[in-house]
Amino acid sequence: MVKRLLAGVWLLSAAVWAEPPLTVAVTASFKPVLEALSEPFTQASGRSFRLVSASTGVLSQQILSGAPFDVFFAADRAHPQQLLKALGLPDDRVQTYALGTLVLVTQDPAVKSLADLRDYTGRVIIANPLQAPYGAAADQLLDQLGYSGTRVRANNVSQARQYLSLNLAAVGLTAASVAQDLPGVQSIDPALYPVLEQQLVVLRRSDQAVALLAFLQTAPAVQVLRDFGYREPAQP
């Protein structure tokens, strides 16, 4: 019994001595991208990371309460900037890692293109403009187009996608990254809506964190980003 206990303690301490994997907090909409990059990252660097996923707002609250994350991929600029101030981190801990794109999803014959929304009376699904940057962009775009019907506000882009996939409404505006397998997806000229800059914060600097950020700049990683409907940020 004592031997077993000692063996257990030894195993535990061995686990502690090994390099712990990087803990990455990621906003729900970007999680599939990091999941897809996990395997190639391990192959390229011999290191690994584990993902914690929730909405940007929830993760920010957790970080302020002391959650042990190394890097945080947010869905906007506002939250990382707030965290930077609140935690007293230097400016270079924040960088833009992707630009989001908005798409129109339409299964309604009355809406063949974005311009048809001006006279459309049916419901349009968007993400909640108060919480989701994609929702705010969609809201502004609808105002600009002169749409006056009812806007159904899903909690986030994923719920917007869910509503559209269940046909609960025929038309919606959501993030390209979550609309991949929906029918009736149309791209929207990025000049028509505000830039959806997504920023990350390095909360605890380490070799692993540096390796992950460097990996994101490589050509294969950028290709995965594009495959999921993001654009890479302009190089400084």
């Binding site: 707002g57 909640n128 108060l130 919480q131 806007r151 506000r153 509503y163 046909n167």
Partner: protein, 223 residues
């Protein structure tokens, strides 16, 4: 915005409670007196919303309301609009969610009446419906009030189901709890304080009135 949400919440809770009372009175009276083998099954079904997370209810409701399902398609055919993101969609969700809170107090009340009252009425020639309306229902008034208050306040306190099937449309499906959630998430704590504080105070007041009234009527009956 707040007034819209308050009006909508009261309308939703009122409609839900009224419809639930209509369905639950015969159901509770039956449950209180039946010796059917189906009774434990029906009781379990009624109590399910007490133990299930609201997300389970929300998930099934979403699937049912989708025009891909038969029920959802039939509804669109009948009323020309999808059930999701509509007031009546919320009413249906709330009815399922608050069902046990209305059935259970009513059932306890009817059980407490004992069979002899109904039997006495029967020997005097009363039809079962007459017995129900003239004797059992008036005697069940305290239970009826408790059931209404619990059903109403529980519907006001509903959040998870509405979050999943509501669509957050001001004036149509944006109830108080959802408006509060919005304000908290967007760090608008001033309005969040007003809403949360208001809900705490009004709920406390309603429950206090119920318990005080229960206490007094217990004294009256006891004395």
């Amino acid at each position: 915005m707040i007034l819209d949400a308050i009006g909508l919440t009261l309308r939703l809770a009122g409609t839900t409670t009224l419809l639930l009372l209509i369905i639950c009175m015969p159901l509770a009276a039956w449950l209180a007196s039946t010796r059917s083998r189906a009774k434990p099954w029906v009781e379990s079904l009624v109590a399910l919303p007490l133990v299930l997370p609201p997300t389970v209810l929300g998930f099934y409701l979403l699937l049912i309301m989708s025009p891909n399902s038969q029920i959802g398609a039939a509804w669109v055919e009948l009323f020309g609009q999808s059930l999701a993101f509509s007031f009546w969609g919320l009413v249906i969700g709330s009815m399922a969610y608050s069902l046990p809170f209305v059935v259970q107090p009513l059932q306890r009340t009817f059980e407490g009446q004992g069979a002899f009252i109904a039997e006495a009425a029967h020997t005097l020639g009363a039809h079962p419906w007459q017995t129900f309306w003239a004797i059992r229902l008036p005697l069940a008034l305290p239970g009826l009030i408790a059931a209404s208050v619990l059903g109403f306040t529980h519907t006001v306190g509903e959040f998870g189901v509405v979050l999943m099937i509501g669509g957050n449309i001001p004036g149509q499906t944006q109830v108080l709890s959802i408006l509060l959630f919005d304000q908290v998430e967007s760090l608008n704590y001033a309005l969040a304080h007003q809403l949360a504080g208001g809900l705490v105070l009004s709920s406390l007041l309603v429950l206090f009135c119920l318990y005080r009234w229960n206490h007094q009527s217990a004294i009256r009956i006891g004395g």
